[in-house]
Amino acid sequence: MNVVVVARDHARRQALIQRAEEAGWTVRADVPTEAALSPEDLDGVAAIVIDARDATALSPRAHDGDDLIEPLTSREHDVLEQMAAGLSNRQIADVLGISEHTVKFHVSAVLGKLGVASRSAAIRHAMRQGLVTL
Protein backbone atom coordinates (compact mmCIF):
# COMPACT_ATOMS: atom_id res chain seq x y z
CA MET A 1 0.00 0.00 0.00
CA ASN A 2 1.33 3.39 -1.07
CA VAL A 3 1.04 6.04 1.63
CA VAL A 4 2.04 9.68 2.08
CA VAL A 5 3.28 10.95 5.43
CA VAL A 6 2.46 14.52 6.40
CA ALA A 7 4.17 16.17 9.36
CA ARG A 8 5.56 19.67 9.62
CA ASP A 9 8.12 18.58 12.19
CA HIS A 10 11.03 16.76 10.57
CA ALA A 11 11.73 14.40 13.49
CA ARG A 12 8.06 13.44 13.82
CA ARG A 13 7.86 12.87 10.10
CA GLN A 14 10.83 10.51 10.28
CA ALA A 15 9.27 8.62 13.18
CA LEU A 16 5.95 8.28 11.34
CA ILE A 17 7.70 7.09 8.18
CA GLN A 18 9.50 4.43 10.18
CA ARG A 19 6.30 3.19 11.79
CA ALA A 20 4.47 3.15 8.47
CA GLU A 21 7.27 1.12 6.90
CA GLU A 22 7.30 -1.26 9.83
CA ALA A 23 3.60 -1.78 9.22
CA GLY A 24 4.48 -2.92 5.72
CA TRP A 25 3.42 0.23 3.89
CA THR A 26 5.38 1.87 1.10
CA VAL A 27 5.99 5.50 1.97
CA ARG A 28 6.23 7.93 -0.89
CA ALA A 29 9.27 9.99 0.06
CA ASP A 30 9.09 12.36 -2.90
CA VAL A 31 6.18 14.48 -1.66
CA PRO A 32 6.51 17.69 0.35
CA THR A 33 6.56 17.71 4.13
CA GLU A 34 3.91 20.39 4.35
CA ALA A 35 0.23 19.76 4.24
CA ALA A 36 -0.04 21.35 0.80
CA LEU A 37 -0.34 18.20 -1.29
CA SER A 38 -1.03 18.54 -4.98
CA PRO A 39 -3.20 16.05 -6.88
CA GLU A 40 0.01 14.71 -8.50
CA ASP A 41 1.37 13.88 -5.06
CA LEU A 42 -1.60 11.64 -4.43
CA ASP A 43 -1.32 9.64 -7.63
CA GLY A 44 -1.55 5.97 -6.71
CA VAL A 45 -1.58 6.80 -3.01
CA ALA A 46 -3.89 4.69 -0.86
CA ALA A 47 -3.64 6.59 2.42
CA ILE A 48 -2.33 9.78 4.00
CA VAL A 49 -0.69 9.52 7.41
CA ILE A 50 -0.99 12.80 9.29
CA ASP A 51 0.86 13.87 12.42
CA ALA A 52 -1.81 14.25 15.10
CA ARG A 53 -0.43 17.68 15.98
CA ASP A 54 -0.93 18.85 12.40
CA ALA A 55 -4.33 17.28 12.03
CA THR A 56 -6.05 20.17 13.78
CA ALA A 57 -4.40 22.57 11.36
CA LEU A 58 -5.85 20.63 8.46
CA SER A 59 -9.40 20.58 9.70
CA PRO A 60 -11.74 23.09 8.08
CA ARG A 61 -12.59 24.65 11.43
CA ALA A 62 -9.01 25.74 11.99
CA HIS A 63 -8.96 27.55 8.69
CA ASP A 64 -9.82 31.18 8.81
CA GLY A 65 -13.46 30.26 8.97
CA ASP A 66 -15.64 30.10 5.89
CA ASP A 67 -18.94 29.91 7.63
CA LEU A 68 -20.46 30.87 10.89
CA ILE A 69 -21.52 27.75 12.74
CA GLU A 70 -23.67 29.45 15.29
CA PRO A 71 -24.75 33.10 15.29
CA LEU A 72 -23.13 35.40 17.83
CA THR A 73 -25.21 36.68 20.71
CA SER A 74 -25.56 40.43 20.87
CA ARG A 75 -23.13 40.58 23.79
CA GLU A 76 -20.58 38.52 21.87
CA HIS A 77 -21.07 40.89 18.99
CA ASP A 78 -20.39 43.87 21.27
CA VAL A 79 -17.19 42.19 22.43
CA LEU A 80 -16.15 41.41 18.84
CA GLU A 81 -16.63 45.07 17.88
CA GLN A 82 -14.28 46.14 20.65
CA MET A 83 -11.76 43.44 19.75
CA ALA A 84 -11.72 44.79 16.23
CA ALA A 85 -11.08 48.26 17.63
CA GLY A 86 -7.90 46.80 19.12
CA LEU A 87 -9.01 46.80 22.73
CA SER A 88 -7.60 44.42 25.33
CA ASN A 89 -9.89 42.34 27.54
CA ARG A 90 -9.60 44.76 30.41
CA GLN A 91 -10.38 47.74 28.19
CA ILE A 92 -13.39 45.92 26.78
CA ALA A 93 -14.51 45.20 30.34
CA ASP A 94 -14.30 48.93 31.11
CA VAL A 95 -16.20 49.96 28.00
CA LEU A 96 -19.00 47.42 28.39
CA GLY A 97 -19.16 47.62 32.17
CA ILE A 98 -18.65 43.91 32.72
CA SER A 99 -15.89 41.95 34.44
CA GLU A 100 -12.70 40.99 32.67
CA HIS A 101 -13.51 37.38 33.42
CA THR A 102 -16.80 37.68 31.55
CA VAL A 103 -15.01 39.32 28.64
CA LYS A 104 -12.58 36.38 28.45
CA PHE A 105 -15.54 34.03 28.42
CA HIS A 106 -17.17 35.94 25.55
CA VAL A 107 -13.89 36.15 23.62
CA SER A 108 -13.41 32.39 23.68
CA ALA A 109 -17.03 31.89 22.65
CA VAL A 110 -16.47 34.24 19.72
CA LEU A 111 -13.28 32.43 18.65
CA GLY A 112 -15.08 29.10 18.92
CA LYS A 113 -18.08 30.21 16.90
CA LEU A 114 -15.95 31.79 14.20
CA GLY A 115 -13.76 28.69 14.14
CA VAL A 116 -10.53 30.60 14.59
CA ALA A 117 -7.66 30.15 17.00
CA SER A 118 -6.61 33.72 17.67
CA ARG A 119 -7.89 37.20 18.25
CA SER A 120 -6.23 38.48 15.11
CA ALA A 121 -7.87 35.77 13.01
CA ALA A 122 -11.24 36.62 14.57
CA ILE A 123 -10.80 40.27 13.60
CA ARG A 124 -9.90 39.43 10.00
CA HIS A 125 -12.75 36.96 9.70
CA ALA A 126 -15.31 39.33 11.20
CA MET A 127 -14.17 42.13 8.92
CA ARG A 128 -14.52 39.99 5.81
CA GLN A 129 -17.92 38.71 6.80
CA GLY A 130 -19.21 42.20 7.56
CA LEU A 131 -19.69 41.36 11.24
CA VAL A 132 -18.05 44.54 12.50
CA THR A 133 -19.25 48.07 12.05
CA LEU A 134 -17.05 49.95 9.61
Binding site: R8, D9, A57, A62, H63, D64, Q82, M83, A84, A85, G86, L87, S88, R90, Q91, D94, V95, A117, S118, R119, S120, A121, I123, R124, M127, R128, Q129, G130, L131, V132, T133, L134
Partner: protein, 299 residues
Protein backbone atom coordinates in the same frame (compact mmCIF):
# COMPACT_ATOMS: atom_id res chain seq x y z
CA UNK B 1 45.07 30.44 7.64
CA UNK B 2 41.89 32.13 6.41
CA UNK B 3 38.48 30.97 7.57
CA UNK B 4 36.41 28.72 5.35
CA UNK B 5 33.16 30.13 3.95
CA UNK B 6 31.24 28.02 6.45
CA UNK B 7 33.28 29.46 9.30
CA UNK B 8 32.68 33.00 8.03
CA UNK B 9 28.95 32.39 7.80
CA UNK B 10 28.98 30.92 11.28
CA UNK B 11 30.87 33.95 12.59
CA UNK B 12 28.48 36.35 10.88
CA UNK B 13 25.41 34.67 12.35
CA UNK B 14 26.93 34.48 15.81
CA UNK B 15 27.84 38.18 15.58
CA UNK B 16 24.32 39.00 14.43
CA UNK B 17 22.92 37.21 17.49
CA UNK B 18 25.39 38.92 19.82
CA UNK B 19 24.64 42.30 18.32
CA UNK B 20 20.89 41.84 18.83
CA UNK B 21 21.08 40.33 22.31
CA UNK B 22 21.36 43.58 24.34
CA UNK B 23 18.16 44.89 22.68
CA UNK B 24 16.04 41.91 23.70
CA UNK B 25 14.01 41.91 26.91
CA UNK B 26 12.16 39.18 28.73
CA UNK B 27 8.66 39.45 30.21
CA UNK B 28 6.39 37.00 31.92
CA UNK B 29 3.70 36.65 29.31
CA UNK B 30 0.19 35.24 29.34
CA UNK B 31 -0.06 31.92 31.20
CA UNK B 32 3.52 32.29 32.36
CA UNK B 33 4.99 32.02 28.91
CA UNK B 34 8.22 33.76 27.99
CA UNK B 35 7.53 36.91 26.00
CA UNK B 36 10.35 38.66 24.21
CA UNK B 37 10.54 42.42 23.98
CA UNK B 38 12.51 44.19 21.27
CA UNK B 39 13.87 47.65 22.10
CA UNK B 40 13.25 50.37 19.52
CA UNK B 41 14.83 53.23 21.42
CA UNK B 42 16.21 53.92 24.88
CA UNK B 43 12.75 53.95 26.44
CA UNK B 44 10.42 51.91 24.27
CA UNK B 45 10.10 48.32 23.22
CA UNK B 46 7.67 46.07 21.41
CA UNK B 47 5.99 42.94 22.70
CA UNK B 48 3.61 40.51 21.04
CA UNK B 49 0.06 41.62 21.92
CA UNK B 50 -1.22 38.06 22.31
CA UNK B 51 1.37 37.35 25.00
CA UNK B 52 0.86 40.58 26.92
CA UNK B 53 -1.30 39.93 29.93
CA UNK B 54 -1.14 43.15 31.89
CA UNK B 55 -2.69 46.34 30.66
CA UNK B 56 -0.84 48.94 32.65
CA UNK B 57 2.48 48.11 34.22
CA UNK B 58 4.84 45.25 33.50
CA UNK B 59 8.22 44.20 34.79
CA UNK B 60 10.79 43.30 32.18
CA UNK B 61 14.25 41.83 32.42
CA UNK B 62 16.93 43.51 30.34
CA UNK B 63 20.47 42.37 29.67
CA UNK B 64 21.59 44.07 32.88
CA UNK B 65 18.68 44.31 35.28
CA UNK B 66 14.96 44.76 35.74
CA UNK B 67 12.80 47.66 34.60
CA UNK B 68 9.19 48.69 34.97
CA UNK B 69 7.33 49.69 31.83
CA UNK B 70 3.81 50.80 30.99
CA UNK B 71 1.69 49.87 28.01
CA UNK B 72 1.50 52.79 25.56
CA UNK B 73 -0.79 51.08 23.08
CA UNK B 74 -1.62 47.69 21.70
CA UNK B 75 -3.26 46.18 18.68
CA UNK B 76 -4.43 42.60 18.25
CA UNK B 77 -4.79 42.94 14.47
CA UNK B 78 -1.03 43.29 14.01
CA UNK B 79 -0.20 41.51 17.30
CA UNK B 80 2.00 44.42 18.39
CA UNK B 81 2.09 46.23 21.72
CA UNK B 82 4.28 49.22 22.49
CA UNK B 83 5.68 49.68 25.99
CA UNK B 84 7.47 52.62 27.57
CA UNK B 85 10.12 52.41 30.26
CA UNK B 86 10.44 55.82 31.90
CA UNK B 87 14.10 56.77 32.24
CA UNK B 88 15.07 53.50 30.58
CA UNK B 89 18.48 52.99 29.08
CA UNK B 90 17.64 50.28 26.60
CA UNK B 91 19.86 49.42 23.65
CA UNK B 92 17.83 49.91 20.49
CA UNK B 93 18.03 47.50 17.58
CA UNK B 94 19.23 48.69 14.20
CA UNK B 95 16.39 48.50 11.71
CA UNK B 96 17.37 47.27 8.27
CA UNK B 97 16.89 49.83 5.53
CA UNK B 98 17.09 47.31 2.69
CA UNK B 99 14.05 45.29 1.75
CA UNK B 100 14.40 41.65 2.78
CA UNK B 101 14.74 39.20 -0.10
CA UNK B 102 13.46 35.66 -0.56
CA UNK B 103 16.31 33.25 0.08
CA UNK B 104 18.11 35.41 2.63
CA UNK B 105 19.53 33.73 5.70
CA UNK B 106 17.91 35.19 8.82
CA UNK B 107 17.95 34.60 12.54
CA UNK B 108 14.85 34.67 14.69
CA UNK B 109 16.18 35.97 18.00
CA UNK B 110 14.37 36.11 21.31
CA UNK B 111 14.68 35.52 25.03
CA UNK B 112 13.46 32.74 27.27
CA UNK B 113 14.03 31.96 30.93
CA UNK B 114 17.35 30.34 30.04
CA UNK B 115 18.66 33.29 28.06
CA UNK B 116 19.17 34.28 24.46
CA UNK B 117 17.74 32.02 21.74
CA UNK B 118 18.35 32.37 18.03
CA UNK B 119 17.13 30.04 15.33
CA UNK B 120 18.54 30.32 11.80
CA UNK B 121 16.37 29.96 8.74
CA UNK B 122 15.63 31.27 5.28
CA UNK B 123 13.15 33.78 4.01
CA UNK B 124 10.92 31.45 1.99
CA UNK B 125 8.38 33.92 0.64
CA UNK B 126 6.90 37.36 1.04
CA UNK B 127 3.16 37.92 0.98
CA UNK B 128 0.78 40.82 1.15
CA UNK B 129 -0.72 43.28 1.31
CA UNK B 130 -3.00 41.91 4.03
CA UNK B 131 -5.98 43.74 5.49
CA UNK B 132 -5.33 42.66 9.08
CA UNK B 133 -7.84 44.88 10.82
CA UNK B 134 -10.39 47.47 9.80
CA UNK B 135 -8.29 50.42 8.70
CA UNK B 136 -4.90 48.78 8.73
CA UNK B 137 -3.25 47.13 5.79
CA UNK B 138 -0.07 45.21 6.39
CA UNK B 139 1.99 45.88 3.27
CA UNK B 140 4.01 42.72 3.61
CA UNK B 141 4.50 39.60 5.72
CA UNK B 142 7.86 37.83 5.83
CA UNK B 143 7.59 34.04 5.86
CA UNK B 144 10.54 31.88 6.82
CA UNK B 145 11.47 28.25 7.15
CA UNK B 146 11.32 28.68 10.94
CA UNK B 147 8.79 27.17 13.31
CA UNK B 148 7.88 29.31 16.33
CA UNK B 149 9.70 28.50 19.57
CA UNK B 150 9.50 29.75 23.14
CA UNK B 151 10.49 33.42 22.97
CA UNK B 152 9.77 33.70 19.23
CA UNK B 153 6.86 36.16 19.29
CA UNK B 154 7.91 39.74 19.92
CA UNK B 155 11.49 38.84 19.05
CA UNK B 156 13.50 40.17 16.18
CA UNK B 157 14.06 38.68 12.75
CA UNK B 158 17.63 39.63 12.02
CA UNK B 159 19.63 39.52 8.80
CA UNK B 160 23.22 38.33 8.54
CA UNK B 161 24.45 41.86 9.25
CA UNK B 162 22.61 41.92 12.56
CA UNK B 163 19.98 44.41 11.37
CA UNK B 164 16.35 43.84 12.24
CA UNK B 165 14.22 43.11 9.19
CA UNK B 166 11.05 42.41 11.13
CA UNK B 167 9.30 41.51 14.37
CA UNK B 168 8.28 37.87 14.78
CA UNK B 169 4.78 36.67 15.66
CA UNK B 170 3.02 33.34 15.76
CA UNK B 171 -0.45 34.86 16.10
CA UNK B 172 -1.17 36.00 12.56
CA UNK B 173 -0.94 32.81 10.54
CA UNK B 174 -2.68 29.99 12.41
CA UNK B 175 0.21 29.29 14.71
CA UNK B 176 2.85 29.43 12.03
CA UNK B 177 5.54 32.04 12.37
CA UNK B 178 5.95 35.15 10.30
CA UNK B 179 7.55 38.53 10.71
CA UNK B 180 6.09 41.97 10.26
CA UNK B 181 8.60 43.99 8.25
CA UNK B 182 10.36 46.93 9.89
CA UNK B 183 8.51 49.42 7.67
CA UNK B 184 5.06 48.19 8.74
CA UNK B 185 6.22 48.00 12.36
CA UNK B 186 7.23 51.66 12.19
CA UNK B 187 3.77 52.64 10.92
CA UNK B 188 2.08 50.74 13.74
CA UNK B 189 4.44 52.17 16.36
CA UNK B 190 3.88 55.74 15.13
CA UNK B 191 0.13 55.33 15.54
CA UNK B 192 0.37 53.60 18.93
CA UNK B 193 2.69 56.32 20.16
CA UNK B 194 0.48 59.15 18.96
CA UNK B 195 -2.98 57.75 19.59
CA UNK B 196 -2.49 54.78 21.92
CA UNK B 197 -4.09 52.58 19.31
CA UNK B 198 -4.22 51.98 15.59
CA UNK B 199 -6.33 54.79 14.29
CA UNK B 200 -9.01 53.90 11.78
CA UNK B 201 -11.66 55.63 9.76
CA UNK B 202 -15.30 55.07 10.57
CA UNK B 203 -18.58 55.28 8.72
CA UNK B 204 -20.79 53.54 11.24
CA UNK B 205 -22.34 50.86 9.06
CA UNK B 206 -22.57 47.12 8.79
CA UNK B 207 -22.88 45.72 5.33
CA UNK B 208 -23.19 42.55 3.33
CA UNK B 209 -22.02 41.86 -0.21
CA UNK B 210 -24.89 41.45 -2.64
CA UNK B 211 -25.30 40.64 -6.31
CA UNK B 212 -27.49 43.08 -8.22
CA UNK B 213 -30.08 41.92 -10.74
CA UNK B 214 -29.69 43.27 -14.27
CA UNK B 215 -32.37 46.01 -14.04
CA UNK B 216 -30.84 47.43 -10.87
CA UNK B 217 -27.30 47.77 -12.18
CA UNK B 218 -26.20 51.28 -12.91
CA UNK B 219 -23.41 50.60 -15.36
CA UNK B 220 -21.20 49.85 -12.41
CA UNK B 221 -20.87 46.14 -12.30
CA UNK B 222 -23.03 43.58 -10.67
CA UNK B 223 -22.01 43.74 -7.04
CA UNK B 224 -22.30 46.11 -4.13
CA UNK B 225 -22.52 46.35 -0.37
CA UNK B 226 -25.98 46.27 1.15
CA UNK B 227 -26.19 48.49 4.23
CA UNK B 228 -27.66 46.39 7.04
CA UNK B 229 -27.27 48.75 9.99
CA UNK B 230 -26.35 52.34 10.72
CA UNK B 231 -25.03 53.46 14.08
CA UNK B 232 -26.99 56.45 15.42
CA UNK B 233 -25.08 59.71 15.13
CA UNK B 234 -22.38 58.10 13.00
CA UNK B 235 -20.96 59.71 9.85
CA UNK B 236 -23.20 57.46 7.73
CA UNK B 237 -26.22 58.57 9.76
CA UNK B 238 -25.32 62.23 9.33
CA UNK B 239 -24.87 61.69 5.59
CA UNK B 240 -28.45 60.28 5.55
CA UNK B 241 -27.50 56.86 4.32
CA UNK B 242 -30.38 54.40 4.76
CA UNK B 243 -30.55 50.74 5.66
CA UNK B 244 -31.23 49.02 2.36
CA UNK B 245 -28.98 51.32 0.34
CA UNK B 246 -26.43 49.48 -1.75
CA UNK B 247 -23.00 51.09 -1.71
CA UNK B 248 -21.35 50.82 -5.09
CA UNK B 249 -18.24 52.87 -4.42
CA UNK B 250 -16.63 55.23 -1.99
CA UNK B 251 -14.58 57.79 -3.91
CA UNK B 252 -12.73 55.66 -6.44
CA UNK B 253 -12.81 52.48 -4.37
CA UNK B 254 -15.37 50.03 -5.69
CA UNK B 255 -17.17 48.43 -2.77
CA UNK B 256 -17.50 44.76 -3.56
CA UNK B 257 -16.81 43.28 -0.16
CA UNK B 258 -16.70 44.63 3.41
CA UNK B 259 -12.92 44.17 3.07
CA UNK B 260 -12.78 46.87 0.40
CA UNK B 261 -14.46 49.29 2.75
CA UNK B 262 -12.15 48.23 5.60
CA UNK B 263 -9.21 48.90 3.31
CA UNK B 264 -10.52 52.31 2.37
CA UNK B 265 -11.00 53.41 5.98
CA UNK B 266 -7.33 53.82 6.79
CA UNK B 267 -6.08 56.22 9.46
CA UNK B 268 -5.24 58.99 6.97
CA UNK B 269 -8.91 59.21 5.89
CA UNK B 270 -10.09 60.39 9.31
CA UNK B 271 -11.64 63.84 8.95
CA UNK B 272 -11.59 63.68 5.13
CA UNK B 273 -14.65 64.20 2.99
CA UNK B 274 -15.66 61.34 0.75
CA UNK B 275 -18.28 60.67 -1.84
CA UNK B 276 -20.50 57.61 -1.52
CA UNK B 277 -22.05 56.25 -4.70
CA UNK B 278 -25.19 54.47 -3.61
CA UNK B 279 -28.09 52.66 -5.20
CA UNK B 280 -31.44 53.36 -3.53
CA UNK B 281 -33.86 50.95 -5.17
CA UNK B 282 -33.10 51.67 -8.79
CA UNK B 283 -32.04 55.27 -8.23
CA UNK B 284 -28.40 56.21 -8.14
CA UNK B 285 -27.70 58.56 -5.23
CA UNK B 286 -24.56 60.47 -4.41
CA UNK B 287 -23.92 61.24 -0.74
CA UNK B 288 -21.17 63.32 0.84
CA UNK B 289 -19.80 61.95 4.03
CA UNK B 290 -17.06 63.05 6.43
CA UNK B 291 -15.06 60.04 7.55
CA UNK B 292 -15.10 59.84 11.33
CA UNK B 293 -12.86 58.00 13.68
CA UNK B 294 -13.68 54.73 15.33
CA UNK B 295 -13.33 55.37 19.04
CA UNK B 296 -14.21 53.53 22.17
CA UNK B 297 -14.71 55.24 25.48
CA UNK B 298 -11.61 53.82 27.03
CA UNK B 299 -10.75 55.31 30.35
Amino acid sequence: MSDSLAQQLSNDLASAATRTAPSLLLLRGRRGRAATGTALDAQSFLVSDHLLDADDEVRARTADGEITARVVGRDAGTDLALLHAEGGRLTPVTLATDVVRVGEIVLAAGRTWTGLVAHPGFVTHLSGPHQVSPGFRLEQAIHTSLDPFSGFSGGALVNARGEVVGISTSALDRGRGLAIPARDVTRVVDSLRRHGRLRRGYLGISSLPVALPERQRQGSGERGLLVTSIAPGSPADTAQLLVGDVILAIDDTTALRPDDLAGYLSADRVGQRASLRVLRGTNPVQLDVTIGERTSDVR
